[in-house]
Symmetry: C2
Subunit: 352 residues, 2 copies
């Protein structure tokens, strides 16, 4: 096969081969599927950690801090920076990368930036594939940092084992507008720049939203840290604590000051605890199974697209029918049905 | 068919039927494709105008102003607000809608908000479909307002005949970071809030980026409005002006103060001129042909997804193969190939 030599170098742990393999996969060059397929049995070692949050929250700084922490533990780190390329932003990226320079020079660290590839759906696919390559290479921790905060970033975050959401005290004003999507994906919260005013308030607000402080906002009898000590609430809290311990994970809300490396050890420990929870609860297997299922679905959909639209006969057939569409003699649904009806061999792979 | 009564009401111009038809289409309820198909011959009347720009640029205000302008001309207006639902924003929307209240009460205006539907690709499809319904209803102008500025908004903007990009003097600092995508889609620029400092500078910067002021930045001999009067440049400008007039459209950069309805007539005239250019140059037919082609591609891809993943046999078959994926005995590519090989009848529509 085309990438035999590359694969041999890759398996020998050569970093140049890692870079080349990622390029082949990222750009879907010829043979990328065979290459990824050959790596498939080696998957499952890396812990994938997604980092998301609003612009200016300090995602790159926390990424850098966590990387240094893991390197001190002797672990190798892959960093995947995902930028869905808003046409109105982008200036901050270079500065962030410069701050990362010291970890970038570390041979135990591999950094890769991913920009938009075709559709946004394609970006989470690309992220998953690049993480797979890093995983197969034997990377211990893969940090997936998303630049923005839109739907596409949430899709990207879902490709991780653990999702870290980073907020800053300035986010406090908008915390009420945080939509359900973010709360669903967050496994650990970091309130970064925690030396600024409003950090405690933000932390309390997040905990209230998570239901960790039942009644704290409304109850005048709330004690230290807003815990309501009335009987009913105590009973409920005991019940909830038991549920927490046994069945579900309540995202911890931690304080960090990334620029001073404060709170990083605690953050890494929280991520370790979350990973242990994933393992013991069976969630890890479930999440990774979901990822594999989505992977097949992605590949199937990309293959159908390729087989249809790379076929000259199909596109010519469609082009010849556009005048009917323009006059209204045929509808897009009729043309689509007819196109699929004539494409059975093409789609099933019989004619290629 | 299921929507016969609805279609009759729709064709009779009843606004309640318009609202119901959009709901059926937006949520892809049963029979939506037959409904859209029945509307297909009526398409092509509406001019579709996309409005995009950074948050706070005044898109809703300009949308409202343009709507009032068109209503004074006796034209009916559809407004489609597209919000790709960032989890960190969203607070501004309600206020914008309140500002629109006076046009919202006008029976000649129809407003619809679209939030994320499934994938982001799905959002531009949904936008196109809702605009089609408005078009088939006989709406004269359809204004497509996007809330954010990411890739998905650019995709949405591409579904319009004309794209209006709205900036404010405050955008000036980031104009250098505007990516190519925006310049590609902009047919008309509005510098809104033009009474604020920096409006002229922003306008000049946009014109420089558009190549409308060749050499103006570097040439010390630049005359009034930065036009370089040296011989070489004059020759080039004549050549460029001729090219502009004959073959291509140079996006005009207009000043508006939306809150005071200033510059709106000029803006509407620029949009009219752009539409005339589209018609006379053949671009309108080309753009609409592209839209029809993309429409078929969308429908084909959605149909393949539906036929595959709504089929219990297929999903059960995939589920049974996940253990092989987990152990590494099979790769996602092999499973995908096998899945497509067994799905010829399903995909071609023979088995349904």
């Amino acid at each position: 096969m085309a990438h035999d030599a590359l694969l041999a170098d890759f398996r020998a742990g050569r970093k140049a081969a890692l870079a080349r393999a990622i390029s082949v996969v990222e750009n879907h060059r010829a043979g990328f599927d065979v290459l990824l397929g050959a790596m498939h049995p080696a998957l499952g070692r890396a812990r994938r950690i997604g980092l998301t949050g609003p612009p200016g929250a300090g995602k790159s700084t926390i990424t850098t801090c966590l990387t240094r922490h893991y390197r001190r533990q002797g672990l190798t780190v892959g960093i995947v920076c995902v930028d869905p390329t808003s046409p109105f932003t982008g200036g901050a990226l270079l500065g962030d990368r410069i701050r990362m320079e010291d970890v970038a020079l570390d041979p135990g660290v591999y950094i890769r930036s991913l920009a938009t590839r075709g559709s946004l759906g394609g970006l989470s696919t690309a992220t998953r594939e690049v993480c797979d390559v890093l995983d197969a290479f034997g990377t211990d921790r893969v940090l997936i940092e998303t630049v923005g905060v839109g739907q596409s970033e949430l899709d990207v975050a879902r490709t991780a084992d653990s999702s870290l959401v980073i907020l800053v005290p300035e986010s406090g004003d908008s915390i009420q507008t945080l939509k359900a999507g973010l709360m669903e994906i967050a496994d650990v919260f970091a309130v970064n720049k925690a030396d600024r005013p409003g950090a405690d308030r933000l932390r309390t607000e997040i905990e209230l939203m998570l239901g960790m402080r039942p009644g704290a906002a409304a109850a005048p009898s709330a004690g230290h840290h807003g815990v309501d000590l009335s009987r009913n609430n105590l009973a409920r809290q005991v019940r909830e604590a038991a549920q927490r311990d046994e069945a579900r994970w309540t995202p911890p809300v931690l304080r960090t000051i990334g620029t001073e490396e404060q709170g990083i050890t605690e953050l890494a420990e929280a991520l370790d605890r979350h990973f242990e929870y994933l393992e013991t609860s069976g969630q890890l297997r479930a999440r990774r199974r979901t990822r594999l299922r989505e992977r097949v679905v992605d590949v199937v959909e990309e293959k159908t697209r390729q087989r249809l639209w790379a076929d000259v006969g199909t596109t010519a057939w469609l082009e010849a029918r556009l005048p009917q569409l323009e006059t209204g003699a045929a509808t897009p649904f009729e043309i689509a049905d007819a196109l699929l009806a004539r494409s059975a061999d093409l789609l099933s792979g019989r004619s290629t």
